[in-house]
Symmetry: C2
Subunit: 577 residues, 2 copies
């Protein structure tokens, strides 16, 4: 695809996945890594005998120069490289040699304090932070400014939580300084976030940016544990806000490639940028199976000035589970990957690392599914197979409701069943029973257009970003609920006219069905919420084709039931029937 | 995942994709191939210094023995290997060594005549065939039995159409024998198929089989050109028939791995097995991006006795386009891959072959999309970039209708708009206009429940396998059409009550909405087919999330229109308004 030869500083798992993408495009790769047969070198042969991979560290100036001499474009799979060497190469190279991202970007990002300063100066929302030196006094001053608890952070060489210390009371100051041992430090105001989120942004050589979907990241012992894509939210405006913050942050740097933007989401919807990685990132592994173009391929396209690929999701729901070493033995990793082999939608990625260690990233598993509920059902046994999973953590992913059909809402509903009054419940229950029968996850609640109008607005406005795909609304009399919900969501809304004590339900029917041009309500027969449930299943089949087969089975069963009655009628005669 | 080392006979593109899958699972691979740095060897380093890849032919007995000595499991990426060597290894190996598929399977499949005999003996439907020798008399006898035209075929070493000769008249007999030059031959009855189809079947070491979706294959100059997955058909029973034939055929062989089963589909729905490949196959490349588990990974899982992965599609629609060398220059290949880089949903696979040649498989592109219509729109520019595309061929993939909104049905509709009578057309046109506005592909026709009942049955029964995802049916008076269609399809059906000359449309409304329990019709307001179109768009959003955004935009535009009227009312006063 490109005659250019790409040199990668670092040959771990990110380099391995970059190399795998490169071979699809016939992009020639030379790897600099200390491991003679490390993860990346295992999956891409050197492009030619004189272009062999290099055994050496990405912090070894001589080796970096050796790599630079062999290639046309330099890039990194880790930011802790010798950036002075890169700057020197950039300023002195006799021939056209590109470095992506630019050395200055890597330099800013290497130093977390400078990174924060840079972000703040470019209008990115960051939590308060102050420089400190390694003295107790300095920490006291910081605590006065930022309050307690505060985060004491190493400015350099910090990752996976190493280099962070939470100071809860000032008495810990000395301990904290000792723990971060001599490295340059700074302090950050404590951020009581409700969720950690991330966005991969890809930046072209001409500075254009494109972003991947917003994901939720779950960390465990400070190491990325799970990444859910896409994020669901009650806040319909959240995604565009987050993506615009991430894109603006990446625009402020120079050089091409993908950037991982990690952010904190606050209770009130505020967002803080936590930190940025100038390279493919763990929170973007899911893109290999779940997006039209993976972060790895788009990194290569960006640094080679090729057109970017679409970052759109191609599956409804996905999650990435890191396989972190539990001890020096691989047996736990093998147990989980064996479980993954029996899990539909699971893709195993083992990194080919020679040795397992506690805390080491040995591989990951990506799961895809047709719905969040199916995804969590697939994820649960994998989590249960991890020795590090606590009972509390497994509870988080336990099936909700614990028993299907037990009368509680599913945690990840595809269908919302709402009714104007609890008096409608006996009618509406039939819809719930149908969804139980088809194992379609749903929620059921009371939302009254007239008595809880604010709740109705919030319910309708947040429905699609929460992950609902259709809503069944039952109402009697004036029966405004289905139509009003339909006016505030783009989802298909099914209306069930509930029969009141007067007018035989014709009032509700006409109120629900006779919607003005522009806002449709899919109306079913009076009191027939069975059909509303069945219609919801049919609607979902537009995204879950297996529901077509399930519905055909249901229809065949109905047919057979009638045919049995035909037989019985012939057998016993209609007088006895 | 498995301590076993796998040896692959052959290291071309199929070996390359097998190797890429192997590295995800940390499966150790040793490759035997004549190319020193061939496609497969480029993407997988030898597992250890004493387990280096072997430079040599897969027909070289000594080299095969050398490979066998290094590995625990032998498999093939091509069936034209020295099978006697494999048989010898199987019978004489001192240590446990598995060969998949079994040498006897490879031996049967290598000889197309024996393959046909085997299939016929095991109840697989094959077209008539007879043995011939290389004499004109023998061909005359064959023609008497099979009729003309007939296919004269080489029994061995035939692929991509090489080794086939179509005899249209007996005068060609000598020419045909000369063309197939001295190879053992047989003759096959001419099969006037309407489509070529294929299924990948994976067989475990214990003989269980699982099959991938049925696909349509399109050949050009006898080489696989396009593979569409899944196949669409008017015949709702076709898929299960085809899969059962393919699975039965594969059950009749021994050994594990994936098998490509190529079949002919006849006008009357009959199916003939054409031939079987005992390995990953070109018609299964699409599985890498489009299925939960690729054919390559499942081949490895099968031969290593690991659990099989799900072969289900994870995207609605996909197509694979082979990149075939046009000349010794790569420039045409590069032009098409450049086009693919700007095509959403396109994944490029270049095979890293050193030289391009006419007819050589240099790579392939897989496209995925949310609908067949989107897929074809993405495919068209790629086909147009191929120098081998004739204007007639491009016409096949030209947009239908040529101009959106021109009043003709789309070739790949997601929505069917039907009405009981042409007198309903003025009412139903509004639905079509809405779908045009959202660029949703649809078809529009007349289907009368009472006047064309057979047509209605066929329309409803074939709707989902043809690719429709929802149906809008308009009817007046007794208005049976929506409900009767809903009774014969699992798709969501939207009913539009059309107002007749009496009863104000209430007759149609009640006929359509008051469906019995079990069969729902999504009813909209009387004569309001605008809302039917909008409801169809909302329903499709369950599978095409971008339609949510489009619908939100539409709703905002409506809101702004009304707000403008509010402004005008305030500006000019209601007397002048």
């Amino acid at each position: 695809m490109s005659g250019k030869i790409v040199g990668i500083l670092g040959g771990g798992q990110l380099g391995r996945m970059l190399a795998a993408s490169a071979s699809l495009l016939n992009v020639k790769i030379v790897i600099l890594d200390a491991g003679e047969n490390g993860p990346a070198k295992q999956v891409i042969a050197p492009p030619a005998p004189h272009l062999s991979h290099i055994d050496g560290s990405f912090t070894d100036r001589e080796k970096i120069l050796e790599l630079a001499a062999k290639v046309d474009v330099l890039t990194v799979e880790i930011e802790h490289v010798d950036v002075t060497a890169l700057e020197k190469i950039q300023s002195s190279s006799q021939r056209p040699l590109e470095i992506h991202p630019s050395p200055s970007t890597i330099k800013i990002i290497q130093d977390k304090f400078r990174q924060k300063e840079h972000l703040a100066a470019h209008g990115s929302p960051v939590s308060e932070f102050v420089p400190v030196d390694s003295t107790v006094e300095s920490l006291h001053t910081a605590a006065q400014k930022l309050g307690l608890p505060l985060m004491l952070k190493s400015r350099t060489l910090a990752y996976d939580g190493r280099g962070n210390f939470v100071i809860r009371e000032l008495a810990q100051a000395e301990e904290a300084i000792a723990a971060l041992g001599g490295r340059p430090l700074y302090a950050e105001k404590w951020v009581p976030f409700v969720k950690e989120i991330a966005v991969m942004v890809v930046r072209t050589t001409s500075g254009d940016v494109q972003s991947y979907p917003v994901v939720e990241t779950v960390h465990k012992e400070n190491i990325c544990h799970l990444v859910f894509a896409p994020l669901r939210s009650r806040d319909p405006g959240l995604f565009s806000r987050v993506r615009s913050i991430a894109e603006n942050a990446v625009r402020s740097f120079t050089g091409a490639g993908v950037f991982g933007v990690e952010m904190f989401l606050m209770e009130n919807g505020n967002i803080y940028v936590n930190e940025i990685a100038p390279r493919p990132h763990n929170s973007g592994h899911y893109t290999i199976e779940a997006c039209e173009t993976s972060q790895y391929e788009n990194h290569l396209r960006a640094i080679l000035s090729l057109p970017l690929g679409s970052p759109a999701l191609k599956v409804p729901s996905s999650v990435m589970l890191n396989l972190i070493g539990h001890s020096s033995s691989m047996s736990e990793i093998i147990e989980t990957t064996n479980m993954a082999l029996t899990t539909p939608g699971a893709s195993v990625h083992l990194y080919g690392k020679a040795e397992c260690r506690k805390g080491r990233k040995m591989g990951h598993i990506t799961l895809v599914a047709e719905s969040d509920a199916e995804l969590r059902a697939r994820l649960r046994p994998l989590l249960a197979s991890l020795p590090s999973s606590s009972p509390e953590e497994l509870d988080l992913y336990a099936p909700v409701p614990p028993v299907p059909g037990s009368g509680f809402s599913n945690r990840d509903p595809l269908v919302g069943i709402v009714m104007g009054s609890d008096s409608d419940l006996p009618v509406m229950l039939a819809a719930a029973r149908i969804l139980d029968q088809f194992t379609v996850p749903y929620e059921l609640s009371i939302v009254s257009a007239h008595r809880t109008p604010d709740r109705m607005v919030e319910y309708a406005r947040s429905a699609s970003t929460r992950g609902l795909r259709t809503i069944i609304a039952g109402a009697g009399g004036a029966a405004h609920l289905p139509g009003m919900i339909a006016a505030m969501t783009a989802l298909p809304v099914i209306g069930v006219p509930v029969k009141g004590s007067t007018l035989d339900g014709v009032d509700s029917l006409h109120s629900i069905v006779q919607m003005p041009r522009g806002i449709p309500v899919a109306t079913v027969a009076i009191n027939n919420s069975t059909n509303a449930g069945l219609l919801a299943v049919r609607i979902l089949s537009a995204g879950i084709p297996s529901l077509i087969t399930a519905m055909e089975k249901y229809m065949n069963a109905m047919e057979n039931e009638v045919l049995k009655k035909v037989d019985r009628l012939e057998e016993v005669g209609w007088e006895k029937y």
